[in-house]
Every structure is written in structure tokens, then in C-alpha cells.
């Protein structure tokens, strides 16, 4: 059942709920919570005033002091701690290092300013050096009273008061607008309609709009035209496919285990579950709880058990000689890392060997949380006979009716009655077929289970050979406590995450959503909200969205709707040089971002524009075009056949997320994707010549160009109309006069080349599988065939390839 899909519902949602939220907000605002942000423009004027603790003081302490004066008790020197934990200020003050109100009388400043190598802090062998500016900031901070503040992300978010005061306006626009007004800047006007509809269609579905969809929006001058587009896109089954992409990176999802045997798995059934749930708009708290503890729910079903594959999508080693217990611990570490990074934005793994150097996470905290994952009936390695599939228990047999019927039929053959040699032979063959089916096709998804509770001990220096103190499950002590009646297991962990006072989970989630629509998160370190994170330039916005998201009942589609309906989102990305120069990282959002589309989306754009796309949803992974010998060198023939089992026909044109992801060697044309070795939540967009080679030379793109050329040739007669139509299919708008001239010259130059070399035209038009028979045939006379149509199609193919490689085609403007 879809939730919150009604037109205009979401934009009103936050307004409907606002009195409830804002009742408590006004009070907190008067307490000065929102006053912590000192904006950059005021910095110079405030030079003599107290520096902002989070933005200015903390980074100096963290980078230079906390290694020896931080949370890690075992490394602490001189009994002095300078982290922001409660009581730390007192500690520093009582130890006499800091005299609040007087930098000159504070021994800390004396040591920091010392020139004697034996006295100066930080000591020379630490290789840390404080700049003159750093020292001035510390002095100002102490002069102003040396107030320590809790790290912003560790206190619960509160919505900006301005949002409660002006309920008729869009909260995102209010907050961003107010900030821009302080700088004397303003947003750009709304993007032109063709650009806007392409942007929002790509962002919400990962596919380009069709020319008809563009026309419908351009022609719809009604008040709610844009909202109607959003409704349509949020209801599209392709929405879930697009939103699954960042989850696959976070869940280090792959279709094989990695390492030497690199056996295939059935984890794709989890990928299908994810797409379904995202399309259903299952509330985020429920979605996450199912992923973490779907097996432990009182209303657990096969679907919620399937959800827990999130924590079984890790690498699995089966190398000869691999030590099971060592590998089991590697897996446990991976689960803590994936869970903490994805949902909490905490770098828990830093506390695997020792107390965290910067965040108040102790080594005990780490192993106490790990205890929840240390109950799986697993050995740590995957074994089994050499076969294509290799899965390690516990598994969920997740079979639909069709596959159950298939099993029953094979079973019947294996047990068929009858006497004599031929009946026996039939039985043997049937049994072999049944065994093969059960090995390679009977779906077994690796999922979580608590069937083997173990005693968890802190590992000295993270080494499984050095277990120490025994402990039970607990959540990190510096965050709000686990409810007394919560179960002490993964389910309790999930309940704790979504308790009302957890400061991290909502912020981390809205930050990742923001990243999907703006290329970067409001916190530019989405994997780390700890004290070493980059403080968000728009913290009020982040916090307000976090509150709204939680108050909405964790409805992701409502959050996405809120974002894409804002003027901030809808503004133009066509900023001038001065705008790029004054805010190169676009921290204040005075323009919409332009960024290159993810490689998976680029491929889908090419398939969709050409009409090749097979839009079916879900199912076993497919094997589209890959360069030759990509898999084969990574193969041990004695173990199994690693020849790339290339797909044919319509399976070649499925969306990128269905491409088989071999963990030891990612698909060659999915550049910049996570390597799927460990959890990754940061989007990485790079530019390399190798990417250009891919979109220019990969048969995927060349065939798409050829099919696009033939598609527009069927629709239009004149070369210029064909070019314009192809251009529209790819970038969603009609070329300008100047562009049309260049496009025609592009076609003309290619035409001239193929007129002189018809064999080249034929070779080009024979690339790819679809509909090439017209060109591939021709025999000995083919080389002399100078059919104008052949030449024209080849030239138009290259022109379409050029269009697919335009900056605008590769970019979400």
C-alpha cells in the first residue's frame, strides 16, 4: 500500500503537524539553541569575541591535542583531557591547565606558546604544529570563558523557530533564504521547465523523461503542474529502483562472495525486497528495523527475515587454509561498521582496537554493540563442493510458487516408480537434475539469526587471539540510554535507534536523502557525524529536516517530496562565474547543483533514450555487454567455470541495478561505483579519461546510439528533424539554432567519412545484437554497397553517440 502519495499531501504534511512540533520549539529557541551558529560573514567582525566552539576551537583541539588528551584513557598523558565530554572542562580547569577568562594565566597557553622544544605543546615529535591563528583562537576562547559545548550531532535536533513562525512558507526555502539574505545573496530563478522536468525525473527515477512527458509539463500551465509530475514520479515503480542504488553501496551488496571461490549467491532477493519496500514507502524506522532485526520481530515473516540479509551481504572467505574464527571476527567487525555507518553516522570501527581518539566511544561500547551480532550460527567461512553457488548458513529458503512447483516436479522425477534398468536410469537422471537444481537454483538467501549466542569479550588490540573482559549487549554509553524494557539484542538496538531522543539517526537519514538530490550532503562527511566530521554549513536546515522527517512518521516519500518541491531544489543551476567563485562548494545553495550522473544512471539514460530499455522490475541478475576476458583471468578453472555467461536478447537492456555484480571484479562500465567490499555511503563522482572511453566506445552506448538513430529515422524524414528529435530524447529539450547548426555539421562530417568508406559504415551498423541482421548480411558485395541509407544511418549513429556524450547528457543540470 502506498503511503503519502496523495497529491500535495507531503508539502502540507509538515504544516499540518507544525503546531505540535513548534509548541516545544519556541521554548528551546529562547534558550539559545539555535543561536550557536555564527555565520561566516560575521566572522571578521567577531574576531575579538568568543570563537565558535564547534567550527573553530574543536578542530584545533581534535587535530592537535586529543591523541594524548582525549577520550582514550590508555593514551592519556599528564592526566589532562581536552575533549568536549561532560566534565572535561572541569577536568581541565581543576587540573589547572585552563584558567577560564584569562589565556595569559592559563598554563595551557604558556605551553602552547613556548619556544623551548622540551616545553612546547604539542611536542615536536607529535609532528603537530599550531599556527599563529590557531593560538589566537585558543586564547580568545579561554579569554571568553573556555566554554566546552557538546558536539552538535550528539544533542537532539530541533527545528528552526522561523519555520514555526511562518507556516505558510516552505521550510527549506525559509531557512536557506534567511541565510542567503544575511549574505546579501539570493537564489537563482526557477530552472526552465525542460531542465526542471529532466532533473526531477532523473533524480526520482534514474531515467530521463520522454519527450511526451516533457511536453505535458511544459504545456501544463496549471497551478499544480509540477506537483502532478512529482505525484507521477513518486508512484512510478522505477522510483524504488533509483532509491535502491545508494542502499546497495551502503549494504556492500554483490552477487558473489568475493575471494578465491567467489561463489554466486541469492542475495538479489534482498535487492528485490528493498526495491519493493521503497516503492511501498515503508516508513524508514520500520525499513531499518526489518533490515537489522526482521527475524526478531514478534510479527516476523519471511519478508522481514529476508530484510536481515542487509547484514549478510558481506565478503565471505573460503580460501584453503582460512582460519574460520579469524574470518568470523572480520565479519562481525564488518556488521558493526555497516550498521554504525549507515544508520548512526558513527565511525565505530575506530574503537575496535582502543577507545575512539575523538568521539566518546569506548572500546567497551564497541564490543557491547558487537555482541548483538555475535549470535549467528556461522563458522566464519563458506565451504561446500565446487559449484556456482556458495552460501553459508543461516539461510532463508525464499521460494515463490513457480520455483516450488519446479522443485516438486523434479522431486517426482527423481522418485519415479518402475522396475528395470531404464526406470533406474531415469531415476538416476532425475536425481542428478534434482541435486543440480537444489545446488544452483533453489533460493537460499543468507540472513541473520540469533540461534547461537556466544560470550562476547573485548578483544585486546582488536585481535581475536587476545580476548579479555566479558560483556553483554549495550548501546554506546554517551548516547541516550537503551530503554529498560528493550530486548538486549538487535531488535533492542533498532528500537534504541528510533527512540525519540536519539540525536543521530534522523539527521543521518535526511543527510543521505539530501545527497541524492544535491550531489553532496548537508554534512559533507555522510559516513561520520562525529567530532571529526565537517560541520554542516546549514545545520538549521539539517536539524529541521530531521525533526520533520521523524514527526512525519519517517515517511521517505514525504521527505523526498518536501525536498523536490522547494524553490532551493527548483532553482536554476546556470550560475555565472562570480557565483562559482564566491561559493565553489555551493554550501549556501544560492544555485542548484550540476553534477555528473552516476554511471549506473548514465547507462540507463542511454538505453531509455534509444528505446532499448527493458523496464521490467526485479529478478535474478543479468549479464549485459562486458569487454572480453574481464572475468576469465580471475578464474580457477578447477573450481568452476568463470566464463562470463553473457546474456542475450532483452536481458541485455535491463536497468543497471540488475547487472550481475561480481565482487572480485565489478562491471567494467560502472565507474565510480563503490567496490562493494565494505559499507560506503558517500557519493563519489570523479572524472577520468577512462569514463570518456566507456561512454564513447562501450558497445552498450554504441548500440544505443545506433538504435536511437534508427528510432528517429523512422519518425522523421529530414536530417535536421532527426537530429533534433534524438537530441530531445537524450537531453529533453529542442536544440537552439546555434546548436542545430553544429549538429548538422557533425552529421555532415561523419557522412562524408562514410561515403568514402561504406565498409566502415557496415561495420559500425553491425555492432550490438538488436536488429543488426539487415547490415550484417550482404556478403562479398557488401563492401561495394554505397546505399545512401547505409551511409546516412552510420553517420546518424555517430551523431547520436556524440549527443549521448554531451556534457548536458552526462550531467543533471
Amino acid at each position: 500500500m502506498d503511503r503519502g502519495l496523495g497529491r500535495g499531501v507531503a508539502i502540507c504534511d509538515h504544516l499540518d503537524m507544525s503546531p505540535r512540533i513548534y509548541g516545544t520549539l519556541v521554548l528551546s529557541a529562547t534558550l539559545g539553541v539555535a543561536g550557536l551558529v555564527v555565520h561566516d560573514g560575521m566572522r571578521a567582525a567577531l574576531d575579538v569575541a568568543a570563537p565558535d566552539f564547534h567550527r573553530e576551537v574543536r578542530p584545533i583541539l581534535a587535530d592537535n591535542c586529543l591523541q594524548c588528551h582525549g577520550t582514550d584513557a590508555s593514551k592519556r598523558r599528564g592526566g589532562l583531557r581536552l575533549d568536549q565530554r561532560e566534565g572535561a572542562a572541569d577536568a581541565a580547569v581543576t587540573s589547572g591547565a585552563i584558567v577560564p577568562g584569562s589565556a595569559d594565566r592559563s598554563p595551557l597557553m604558556t605551553r602552547v606558546r613556548a619556544t623551548d622544544a622540551a616545553k612546547v605543546m604539542p611536542p615536536p615529535d607529535s609532528r603537530h604544529v599550531l599556527s599563529a591563528d590557531d593560538k589566537r583562537v585558543l586564547a580568545r576562547w579561554i579569554d571568553a570563558g573556555a566554554a566546552f559545548e557538546d558536539h552538535w550531532a550528539f544533542v537532539p535536533p530541533r527545528a528552526a523557530p522561523i519555520v514555526a513562525r511562518q507556516v505558510a512558507r516552505h521550510p527549506i526555502d525559509l531557512i536557506v533564504g534567511a541565510r542567503l539574505a544575511r549574505e546579501g545573496w539570493s537564489m537563482l530563478p526557477e530552472a526552465d521547465r525542460e531542465t526542471l522536468v529532466r532533473r526531477v525525473t532523473l533524480d526520482l527515477t534514474g531515467l530521463p523523461p520522454t519527450p511526451a512527458e516533457v511536453d505535458a509539463f511544459v504545456d501544463d500551465r496549471g497551478h499544480s503542474a509540477y506537483e502532478r509530475v512529482i505525484d507521477r514520479l513518486l508512484a512510478s515503480p522505477h522510483y524504488g529502483e533509483r532509491m535502491a542504488l545508494p542502499w546497495l553501496d551502503a549494504a556492500r551488496y554483490a552477487d558473489s562472495n568475493g575471494f578465491q571461490q567467489d561463489g554466486d549467491t541469492f542475495q538479489w532477493l534482498w535487492r528485490d525486497w528493498l526495491v519493493r519496500e521503497l516503492n511501498k514507502d515503508t516508513p524508514y524506522d520500520r525499513l531499518a528495523t526489518e533490515m537489522l532485526a526482521g527475524d526478531l520481530l514478534s510479527d516476523a515473516t519471511d519478508d522481514t527475515r529476508l530484510a536481515t540479509a542487509f547484514n549478510r551481504n558481506h565478503l565471505l572467505n573460503g580460501e584453503g587454509g582460512a582460519i574460520p574464527e579469524e574470518n568470523r571476527w572480520v565479519t562481525l567487525f564488518d556488521r558493526v561498521d555497516a550498521t554504525a555507518t549507515t544508520f548512526l553516522g558513527l565511525t565505530m570501527s575506530c574503537a575496535q582496537c582502543h577507545d575512539h581518539k575523538y568521539d566518546p566511544i569506548t572500546q567497551r561500547d564497541y564490543y557491547a554493540m558487537l555482541d548483538a551480532f555475535n549470535r549467528v550460527p556461522e563458522s566464519g567461512i563458506v565451504d561446500g563442493s565446487p559449484s556456482r553457488i556458495r552460501v553459508a548458513p543461516p539461510v532463508l529458503e525464499y521460494a515463490d510458487a513457480a520455483i516450488r512447483a519446479r522443485r516438486a516436479s523434479l522431486e517426482a522425477h527423481a522418485q519415479s516408480m518402475g522396475e528395470g534398468e531404464s526406470a533406474q536410469a531415469a531415476r538416476d537422471a532425475g536425481k542428478a537434475a534434482f541435486d543440480q537444481f537444489m545446488r544452483d537454483e533453489w533460493p537460499r538467501v543468507m540472513v541473520m539469526s540469533d540461534a547461537s549466542p556466544r560470550v562476547t569479550r573485548v578483544l585486546t588490540r582488536g585481535s581475536y587471539t587476545a580476548p579479555a573482559e566479558e560483556l553483554g549487549f549495550a548501546t554506546p554509553a554517551f548516547l541516550p540510554p537503551l530503554a529498560g524494557d528493550a530486548p538486549r539484542n538487535r531488535l533492542g538496538l533498532a528500537q534504541w535507534m528510533f527512540s525519540a531522543d536519539n540525536p543521530l539517526v534522523a539527521r543521518v537519514a535526511v543527510n543521505r536523502a539530501w545527497q541524492t538530490f544535491f550531489g553532496d550532503g548537508l554534512v559533507r562527511t555522510p559516513e561520520d557525524f562525529g567530532t571529526q566530521s565537517q560541520p554542516p554549513a546549514q545545520r538549521e536546515l539539517l536539524d529541521t529536516l530531521a525533526v520533520l522527517f521523524r514527526e512525519s512518521g519517517w515517511r521517505t516519500k514525504a521527505l523526498h517530496r518536501l525536498i523536490v518541491t522547494s524553490a532551493v531544489y527548483r532553482q536554476s543551476s546556470h550560475a555565472n562565474a562570480a557565483a562559482f567563485a564566491r561559493d565553489p562548494d555551493n554550501l549556501l545553495l544560492a544555485r542548484a547543483p550540476r553534477f555528473r550522473l552516476p554511471a549506473m544512471v548514465l547507462r540507463d539514460v542511454a538505453l531509455s533514450a534509444s528505446g532499448l530499455l527493458n523496464a521490467s522490475i526485479g529478478g535474478a541478475p543479468v549479464y549485459p555487454y562486458q569487454p572480453e576476458r574481464v572475468w576469465e583471468p580471475l578464474a580457477i578453472t578447477k573450481e568452476r567455470d568463470f566464463t562470463y555467461p553473457a546474456s542475450h536478447g532483452s536481458a541485455l537492456y535491463r536497468r543497471s541495478l540488475y547487472t550481475f555484480w561480481r565482487r572480485t571484479i565489478a562491471p567494467a562500465n560502472m565507474f565510480d561505483a563503490s567496490q562493494r567490499q565494505s559499507c560506503r555511503v558517500r557519493v563519489a563522482v570523479t572524472n577520468s579519461p577512462l569514463h570518456a572511453l566507456t561512454t564513447l566506445n562501450d558497445p552498450t552506448w554504441v548500440e544505443a546510439a545506433r538504435v536511437l538513430a534508427s528510432r528517429v529515422s523512422r519518425a522523421e524524414a529530414s536530417p535536421s528533424a532527426r537530429l533534433a528529435t534524438a537530441f530531445r530524447f537524450v537531453v529533453g529539450r529542442v536544440p537552439t539554432e546555434a546548436e542545430a547548426l553544429v549538429l548538422e555539421r557533425m552529421l555532415e562530417r561523419q557522412r562524408a567519412m562514410y561515403v568514402g568508406d561504406p565498409a566502415a559504415a557496415r561495420a559500425l551498423l553491425s555492432l550490438g545484437e538488436l536488429g543488426t541482421e539487415d547490415y550484417a548480411a550482404g556478403g562479398a558485395d557488401a563492401a561495394h554497397d554505397v546505399s545512401p541509407e547505409l551511409v546516412e544511418q552510420a553517420a546518424l549513429t555517430i551523431a547520436c553517440l556524440g549527443i549521448l556524450n554531451l556534457d548536458e547528457a552526462l550531467t543533471r543540470e
Binding site: T347, Y358, H574, I665, Q675, P699, R745, Q750
Partner: protein, 494 residues
């Protein structure tokens, strides 16, 4: 550029040639765009601002480099130190008897041998010979490497925690046993930049033993950029016609017609920018990236064209040199990459994992790798390049001094990380030098232990990099190749 129609003047085409492009200031940012060729990386992860592909970080190198480039000849599977580099007469004396428990202690062994009741001493298969003026003892299984003994620095006291292949290789290459960290070549490219504008700074190549006797695979994470920007990922050159995926034009596309296409695409990109008024530097960056792709299409085939190599050089590398995909072929490509300024060539060869076929396969392995390895050293030396090129010959661990298989007739050796050997040549490493020693059994290190992190620190040092200062802020922590460990082994630096 305010009026796009001026683009259609006759001078326009010429303005798009590469040289003019470099000088171009059409948007006043042509040069900047090229300098920041790969500039837009999403996420502000670096503690240090991003710089261009060509430039490294400010302040690097930290010290004058001894090596400008590195060629790593990876010997995957775990070459036996006992059989190749570390003569142990005591094993011959005790052949068949158990290695004493006092020696073995609590050494962590792989599960293939950890449950053994017997640990029968198995001496080196062939005699050792004193080689060169330095008189380093090397097995006669490696006559060619023996022939360059005076140029190599043999380290007999390496040790690692890893007991299995993939963690061991990952550890040497990235400083961590778990996949996900940047490889050494990525770190060096990040810190020092790329000296070559037609090839990547970091190239990986793989080969395996001809009889496929050994199941070692080479995973992408061995040359990964990890959390460093994507441009620092090693680019894998494969053997055969298309060494880089998608390098070749599609059938029916000529170099000339591709040139025309790229010119028209660039014109369209600039027209769009001018007409929409967008001044995003990423647009010029993209045009520059397409230009570099075009240049790579020419430079890579040229790299692989051996027709200008004299017969004497080809003979040096041995009979396999012209067979694509062999170790010998890759060694010659490695030299040619290095000559062109590629900073880190990671040539990975597998085949040293002799658990049960030591007597037959070890010699085959040596035949495949001995001559090309030595040839590379000689070839670099005769070109005057050895002084500035560091060659590293190393595997993930050594092999057990006891025999694996039937205890009365062992036929192999298991993985062994507690002590093993490797060698370096050129690039500031001491030639004709032996560093460190093991006990009489080749089991424990007797002097000057060198941990993997120490070797990483030393390799960086030879490249002019202080391993403690080359860091990257990720997940709130400044990561480095050597984690929080590593001491430079000054004794092996010339």
C-alpha cells in the same frame, strides 16, 4: 564568447586543436580547467585541498627522492624463502625430523597445517651458490637473479601477520588485511602526482604460471584507490588487443572521424555553456578529459608496440617476451611504462603456492620468472634508469620450513608469515647487500626484523615521502598507508 555564432568562423576548428586548447582562455579558465582535470570530486574528504592530476600535494616530496618510480614485481602465492633465498644447512642435517617445539612456539599457521602432529624438516630443494662480488647466497634455481646479485638488496627478515593469500597481499599493498584501503601506488599518485600526461600514474598488470598450478587470483582491491579520490585507482592493463577496457574505437570509427566528433561535441558543450550562461568549470574539465582519452588511444598502442626494441633487449627477457600475458612480456611493458613516467607499476604474477607440488612446480615457477626479473634490472641499468627506479620483488609470505603432505614424504610447504625473504633493486636501495637473518631453521627472525609496515615506510621514504606525513582524512581519522606503525629501514638505503 558572449555571441556563440562567432564559433562558426573559419578559425574555429583550429582553435580546438590540442595545443590551442591548452593555451585557450575562451572562458578565461582553460588552463585552470586542465590543471584541475579531474577536479570535481564530490565530498570534501581530503584534509588537503584537491589538486590537479598532474600535481601532487603541496610540500611533497618531503625529502629528496631516491626513486622517481617504482616497479613492483609481485610474486603471488608465497615464494619459498627456504628454497630460494635463505640457505639453511641445519634443515638438511635434520631432514625428516620434527622441527623442535622450542623453535616453533605458538606460531599461527594456516588451518591446512595447524592441526599437524608432525613438522618434518624439509631442506631447500637445490644447492645455493655465492653470487657476484658480494657473494650473496642464492639458490641455483634462480641463476639470473643470482647474476644481478650485486645490484639487489636481499632482505631475509621480513615478517607479516597474514596467514592466507588475499589478506597477505592486501596487507602489503594497502597496509590492512581487509579490503578497502588505498594501495601504495594510489597513495604515491595522490601524494606525488602524475608525471605523465598520456598515461595514468598507477598501472597494474597480471600474469599467472603457465600451468595454472596455483589458484591465486588478483583482485581489484589490490590496486584500489580505497577512500582516495577515484582518479588514483590503478588502471589495469590487460594483455591482448584492448589493454584498457574500451580503449579502441568501435568498428567503423576512424581516428579522424573520432577527432571530428570530439571537436563537434566540444563545440556543442561550449555553445550550451555560453547560451545558458553557466560557468561551471566542470564543463572545461570534461572537454579536457575527452582530449586525454583521445591521446591515450594513441599512446597506449605505442607503448605496446615492441618493434623498436633491439633483438638484444628482447633476448634479455627470454623466450616468452613476445607472448602477451606472460610475466616476461609484462616485465618489458613495465620498463616501457616506467620510461614514460608512470610512477607505480604493479606487476602481479601468481604461481608460488606449492602445497603439494613443490618438487615439480617450483622449478617451473623459477623458469618463468627468474630471467625476466633479472632482465628488468639489467635493462634499467643499461639505460641508466636503475638509479631512479626502485624494483621490488616480493610475495605475501614465505613457506614453512617443514614439509606439507605425508610426513614421511612431504611434497609441499604451507604458508609462512613469521619469516620470509624479498629483494629490492635500484632507486636508492643498497646493491649487493643482505639485511637481516633468520635462525637455523628459517623459522624465527634472528636479527633486524622488517615488518610489512616497515617495508612500506621504506619504499615511501625512497620515493621522498615521509610515511607519517602522507595522510588522508576519512571517517574522521587521518589514515596512512602504515596505519600507526612502520619504521624506515635506513640500513638498506644506499
Amino acid at each position: 564568447m558572449s555571441d556563440p555564432t562567432i564559433m562558426f568562423g573559419t578559425a574555429f576548428r583550429a582553435a580546438l586543436t590540442r595545443r590551442d586548447f591548452l593555451r585557450s582562455s575562451m572562458h578565461g579558465i582553460g588552463g585552470v580547467a586542465l590543471a584541475s582535470m579531474f577536479a570535481r570530486e564530490s565530498g570534501a574528504g581530503g584534509a588537503v585541498p584537491f589538486r590537479s592530476a598532474g600535481l601532487g600535494l603541496a610540500g611533497l616530496p618531503h625529502i629528496p627522492p631516491r626513486a622517481k618510480r617504482v616497479i613492483c614485481l609481485w610474486q603471488g602465492g608465497g615464494p619459498s624463502h627456504i628454497d630460494l633465498f635463505d640457505p639453511k644447512p641445519e634443515l638438511a642435517r635434520l631432514v625428516g625430523q620434527d622441527i623442535p617445539e622450542s623453535i616453533r612456539g605458538a606460531t599461527r599457521l594456516s588451518t591446512m597445517s595447524s592441526g599437524y602432529g608432525r613438522f618434518p624438516a624439509l631442506p631447500g630443494l637445490k644447492p645455493f651458490r655465492r653470487c657476484g662480488e658480494s657473494g650473496i647466497e642464492i639458490s641455483e634455481l634462480l641463476p639470473h637473479i643470482g647474476g644481478v646479485a650485486d645490484d639487489i638488496c636481499l632482505v631475509r627478515s621480513m615478517h607479516t601477520e597474514a596467514v592466507n593469500h588475499s589478506p597477505g597481499v592486501t596487507f602489503f599493498m594497502t597496509g590492512s588485511e581487509q579490503p578497502g584501503r588505498p594501495a601504495m601506488g594510489a597513495w604515491l599518485g595522490y601524494g606525488l602526482g602524475n608525471e605523465c600526461d598520456e598515461l595514468p600514474a598507477f598501472v597494474a598488470m597480471t600474469s599467472s604460471d603457465r600451468e595454472k598450478s596455483c589458484g591465486q587470483l588478483f583482485y581489484e582491491h589490490y590496486w584500489s584507490n580505497g577512500f582516495l579520490p577515484g582518479r588514483h585507482q590503478g588502471v589495469r592493463f590487460r594483455s591482448g588487443d584492448d589493454p584498457v577496457p574500451y580503449l579502441g574505437n568501435p568498428a567503423g570509427v576512424t581516428r579522424g572521424s573520432r577527432r571530428d566528433l570530439l571537436d563537434d561535441v566540444a563545440t556543442l558543450n561550449r555553445t550550451r555553456a555560453a547560451q545558458s550562461g553557466v560557468a561551471d568549470p566542470a564543463i572545461e574539465t570534461r572537454i579536457a578529459q575527452y582530449e586525454m582519452a583521445f591521446r591515450m588511444q594513441e599512446s597506449v598502442p605505442d607503448l605496446l608496440d615492441f618493434s623498436n626494441e633491439p633483438a638484444s633487449v628482447l633476448e634479455l627477457y627470454g623466450p616468452d617476451v613476445l607472448v602477451p600475458g606472460t610475466f616476461a612480456n609484462n616485465c618489458l611493458i613495465a620498463r616501457r611504462l616506467s620510461e614514460r613516467g608512470v610512477r607505480f607499476v604493479q606487476l602481479m604474477h601468481s604461481g608460488w603456492d606449492q602445497h603439494g607440488n613443490l618438487h615439480s612446480q617450483l622449478a617451473v615457477q623459477c623458469r618463468d620468472t627468474d630471467q625476466p626479473s633479472a632482465a628488468l634490472v639489467r635493462d634499467l641499468k643499461q639505460r641508466g634508469l636503475l638509479d631512479e627506479t626502485l624494483v621490488v620483488w616480493c610475495g605475501e609470505f614465505g613457506r614453512t620450513p617443514f614439509g606439507q603432505g605425508p610426513s614421511e614424504a612431504p611434497n609441499g610447504r604451507d604458508h609462512f608469515g613469521r619469516a620470509y625473504s624479498m629483494w629490492l633493486a635500484g632507486g636508492g636501495a643498497k646493491g649487493g647487500h643482505v639485511h637481516g637473518a633468520t635462525d637455523d631453521f628459517g623459522w624465527n627472525i634472528a636479527s633486524n626484523p622488517v615488518h610489512v609496515h616497515d617495508m612500506q615506510a621504506t619504499i615511501l621514504r625512497l620515493c621522498g615521502v615521509d610515511h607519517e606525513q602522507l595522510t588522508f582524512r576519512h571517517q574522521g581519522r587521518d589514515f596512512r598507508l602504515t596505519d600507526v606503525h612502520g619504521r624506515v629501514v635506513h640500513d638498506i638505503i644506499r
